[in-house]
Symmetry: D2
Subunit: 242 residues, 4 copies
């Protein structure tokens, strides 16, 4: 059974009555709850020691889910380096919504990861553009969210290896809402929805996408590549070339 760790900044839920009302157990609690049906789930938050990401936790995590927003700068660089190392080793990473500006996502992308945004209750339609991808399993043509924060292009990310979802917003913007990448031995899935003031993670279709994402991002058993100085030519030259 896959081991999933749900990481959440967990600040809005303590400082904001609206958010607390929507996610009384925190965003991590809400996500952990629906993932529990299919996976072995732990949670971790910013204000725990080492942000709840001790070496043993990271070592045992198959897929890490990341939600952060107002306190990206408080995440210690040392922890970010450890998470990056684990992704390159094969741990899957799912970055949600405002996690686009997290240290871990920016360092894995190599770009500013900047974008446009607007908090105005825009209607959002998340269109599937990659119907054969396992991440869209069980979905229809699009997911409609009555109200969400708008994220608009240009989204300053590397061209996605796979583009899964495109969002339409009432105000006139579009956004690459579901993007996959590989880094080292690890797989990364960025999924846009989930502003803290909306009940987005209670939406069954959004939950389905995150579950599918965890399965897709699971590590393979490929032997970790060998790097550095290779054997001398004499030793490794194919017999036939002797």
């Amino acid at each position: 059974m896959l081991n999933v760790t749900v990481w959440n900044e967990f600040r809005h839920e303590q400082n904001n009555e609206v958010v607390k009302g929507i996610y009384p157990e925190g965003i991590h609690g809400a996500i952990a709850q629906f993932l529990n049906e299919d996976f072995s789930v732990k949670t971790a938050t910013l204000d725990e020691p080492e942000h709840g990401l001790r070496d043993e936790v990271l070592k045992e995590t198959d897929v890490l889910i990341w939600w952060g927003h107002m306190a990206h700068d408080e995440v210690q660089d040392e922890i970010v380096e450890k998470v990056k190392k684990r992704v390159l080793e094969g741990m899957g990473l799912i970055v949600l919504h405002s996690g686009h500006f997290s240290k871990i996502f920016k360092t894995l992308m190599g770009t500013s990861c900047d974008l446009k945004w607007r908090e105005a209750d825009d209607k959002e339609r998340i269109w599937v553009v990659n119907p054969s991808h396992p991440i869209v399993d069980g979905l229809g043509e699009y997911i409609e969210l009555e109200k969400e924060e708008m994220y608009g292009e240009h989204f300053d990310i590397p061209a996605p290896e796979e583009l899964i979802f495109l969002s339409w917003f009432e105000g006139g913007e579009v956004f690459r809402s579901g993007c996959t990448y590989s880094r080292g031995n690890g797989k990364i899935f960025y999924f846009r929805p989930g502003h803290e003031t909306y009940p987005t993670y209670h939406n069954p279709e959004i939950q389905r996408v995150i579950k599918n994402g965890v399965k897709w991002a699971a590590p393979t058993n490929h032997a970790y590549p060998v790097y550095g100085n290779a054997k001398p030519l004499e030793e490794i030259k194919p017999k036939s070339a002797e």
Copy 2:
């Protein structure tokens, strides 16, 4: 100077007063006119012998532009095969709007190239998502068209090698409006706008995109690859392996 051939079905302009009013010289005439500033331009239409695409014409064409809609089936398969052969040899191809359903585009894509559509004067915003690409040279963040036909996802094409534009439509749809592909030695650019009942090809920004597209799709001077039976191992085995 690049040789461009603008191919147009040229039926709507003869059967429909509205279209005739917008494009008195035909869509091909309008496109040829603004391309004339930078390129050596010819035109060709469906009802000419061999659809205006005799072997000499194709041989001399660096970039072919294709607009078709109601008479895709009237294009002879033999001519389609000749155009495909030229693309694989290196001729650039720019497919516009309803050309998504042309025989030449479908045979180069390998998919149905189907999509959603609506003729309802939707406002369209064509967002740039690939700001470093030469095809967007001289543009701003998006091109806005007050009224166009809607094309919506799912667009049944192979994943674009480069995704340049994403369209937003007033009615709630999105569309991958600017897509590039390579096939053999040739480059292909699909660009969505240009329904016959709107003056889209008179828009200077749309014209800029098509001009940029021609420059991008121009053939390289790479030696055409050699295929088939390679030299015997004895002959071509690297010296060092003797």
Copy 3:
């Protein structure tokens, strides 16, 4: 349990003693045997009625494996069209070795699918370049085959959506040996090895790749997209726009 159909031309095994000696049950028989452990497997061959691909067979097939070489032209266009339709509907397709020149692969790729080749017992090393991909699960850094037919670049295919394997050949060539594509709702995996005069499909690592490929190419349950004329703007315009 996934339903796999292994299609084989099945001519060499009847005309050539060497091939018959290596694959007494035919290449399809050898592949079916090792797939039987994990999947529900059927076989089909060229000389059966409808090439063994009656509508019910195709309808029930989740993943189709294709091996052909000397008789590509004998495959009826009507059957090719049915297979293509099923791929666009979601059936997975795994094309092996000389299947690169099959009608079904060429029509899905849109290119000539030509390449270089040499029958000279080249040593081949199939290097993994995408270590996070499920298709390489259980493999090491590379698979070495003492003797195989050489396939060399340029391989005239569209740029793979995912490049999984690169082959090195003793004679000085390289080849993109593992390539994935999506077409419509279906996933396609091209895997190079398997010339009929070598026991390649008896190699456990090659068998592992094909098993992984079947799992990867399995259909999703995504709703088949709706194409064509969309609802009028009045009906579908978002409430907020009223």
Copy 4:
């Protein structure tokens, strides 16, 4: 005329007689010399103040070429950040050979950029796998180098947006030798050859690739995207939605 800055670590040429013999003016000098025919070229080296990359220099540079090897760690992080900022703004970047381990390349890629290597005078064949790409203009099917350092897979980079070259090495390895990426408004080209102890940059075909790369990596005039808080919905909602 494009402004090119050739950056070189410039240490081997001062410490090693062999390298000094091959590149008496330094690797930067050799590259600047052949680029001078087509571009306005400056050079910069590690031991100059600010590594020769003062703000004015970076601001005026259209394309930066980077060669480094033994002293990557001596490049100041502050300068790396400035170079990265310029790439995201649109400056082209060409990273050569051992520059795969430079701070600037690693921070733009987000991976370890590790690889295999061997100094054993391997013969190298650099095969063209993307014949329609402007970077291969003027080349044949492959470039052969009698002796080079071997670089082998796995190369820990993100999947290239475009794969241009694949290298074959005598000892049994392959390598993705020509890879392109976009980051922000900037284009990046990694090109493998050029170990300091071989006269690789005196090879006319290698020179042609670097010249083509400069032209390809040149900035576009696209308006730099606007990020951050978008206009309120009331203001920007399409008229038709009022």
